[in-house]
Symmetry: C2
Subunit: 253 residues, 2 copies
């Protein structure tokens, strides 16, 4: 394949973001409202074009920062307060996925703690956190304020579903669930993350035994807190371990 610009068709390349967080015991995703056709007025995943001199991950981190103010977590860099986990998810390139032109979208998955000030972007009406089950509802779904939130534009329902499935399976065998937690958190808060992402109830005693017994998963900080009423809980931060062995088992049924 010699270098011949006419030998290949030009593509537009975008990054789309599945940004997940846990709010009020529910797994939520970031959605933006489209201002122009196609799919004008419909909700979509945040994203944008990759620039000519930009790496894919860089483009995803830039879009993430623009939409949420979150920084992608750099393992080599300093520990940031507003850091989110960011990884590539999959690439979607159906010739008809965008009616305007041939667009290949490299979807990324970001996991973020619940933002203390949930002010993603400047325009509150055009960006929102929505429970993923509302966004993925097969029937027409409505948000808390009664606004229609589905179906998502383009193939974004498929992308979101893939991202949710990736998150659900990845917290089984990695310590990624801590990406949904603030820097310091309790075992109960971590358990509620698992419960929200998986949509199941977990036994608090067995969960406590499992996470505290896995070396490198949690590091006690020494402090204690009462955040939900009840007995104060120990505070932990994420340990260095990234892989959980043996994994956290997701209840079947």
């Amino acid at each position: 394949m010699p270098y011949d610009p006419s030998a290949f068709p030009p593509f537009a390349v975008t990054v789309d973001l599945v940004v997940l967080t846990v709010r009020r015991h529910a797994l939520c995703a970031l959605a933006v409202r489209r201002g122009e056709p196609p799919y004008q007025g419909r909700w979509a995943l945040p994203g944008g074009f990759v620039r000519g001199d930009e790496d894919l991950t860089t483009a995803a981190a830039r879009e993430l920062a623009e939409e949420t103010g979150l920084h992608a977590h750099d393992p080599a860099g300093p520990v940031l307060a507003n850091a989110a986990h960011l990884e590539q998810l999959a690439t979607y390139g159906d010739p008809k996925r965008d009616p305007r032109m041939r667009v290949v979208s490299v979807a990324h998955l970001a996991l973020a703690p619940d933002l203390p000030a949930p002010r993603p972007g400047g325009d509150a009406r055009s960006v929102r956190w929505a429970p993923v089950e509302d966004l993925l509802d097969q029937e027409v779904g409505y948000g808390r304020d009664g606004e229609q939130v589905t179906p998502l534009a383009f193939d974004h329902a498929q992308i979101l579903a893939d991202g949710v499935e990736r998150a659900r399976s990845k917290i089984e065998y990695s310590s990624l669930a801590t990406a949904f937690c603030p820097q310091e958190f309790t075992v109960g808060e971590l358990r509620r993350v698992y419960e929200a992402v998986w949509g199941v109830a977990l036994d608090p005693r067995n969960f406590h035994r499992k996470v505290t017994g896995t070396p490198g998963f949690l590091v006690p900080t020494g402090g204690t807190t009462t955040r939900q009423g009840g007995r104060p809980a120990q505070l932990f931060r994420a340990g260095g371990a990234t892989l959980l062995n043996p994994p956290m088992l997701r209840p079947e049924a």
Copy 2:
């Protein structure tokens, strides 16, 4: 983002293939020799441009068929003799990964049984199966015939490493290892697949208990065969189950 062709830079989009098989107890990948610059004469992964009206998976399947004669396995279609598992792996888009122009490559992973007639493509000198450890050797590596096979062109060493890691982890919790086997195979042959992919030795008795005790993994065909000398073994084919629960545990250390 209104439709404005000048608002985004054009990209070339390619598919690259990590085609893996098990030959002579070693995990091998398909490599092609480059005929033109850049990296002329170096080995690379097979791949090519995505056509203007083509889905990414379709493009990968087309390249796979062109290079190997293998068909991508379609779960809805008939059972083909020369069927390989094909899935998207990851996308690589560093601005400098191709010195000629901006190329985004959507890498795919294919798993194939050892071909009875290992004649991939027409030109035997330009296509070969090479053990992945030779291709990934940090030092300059040489193939069986003493020919230099590393370093691979472009970022293909990274792509290959990612594909190998995907295969290694995926056979843990799925029945994907059967994709390396012919339609009918013995427990011992399946075990040698695991041993080759993971590079470890497994206990034949525990392995036998595990795979025959997992419902839906293996279906006995009734026949028996002696392929390696020794007592004849039962023949099986892959069952319908795709997920292994509990998973096959990869020995640590």
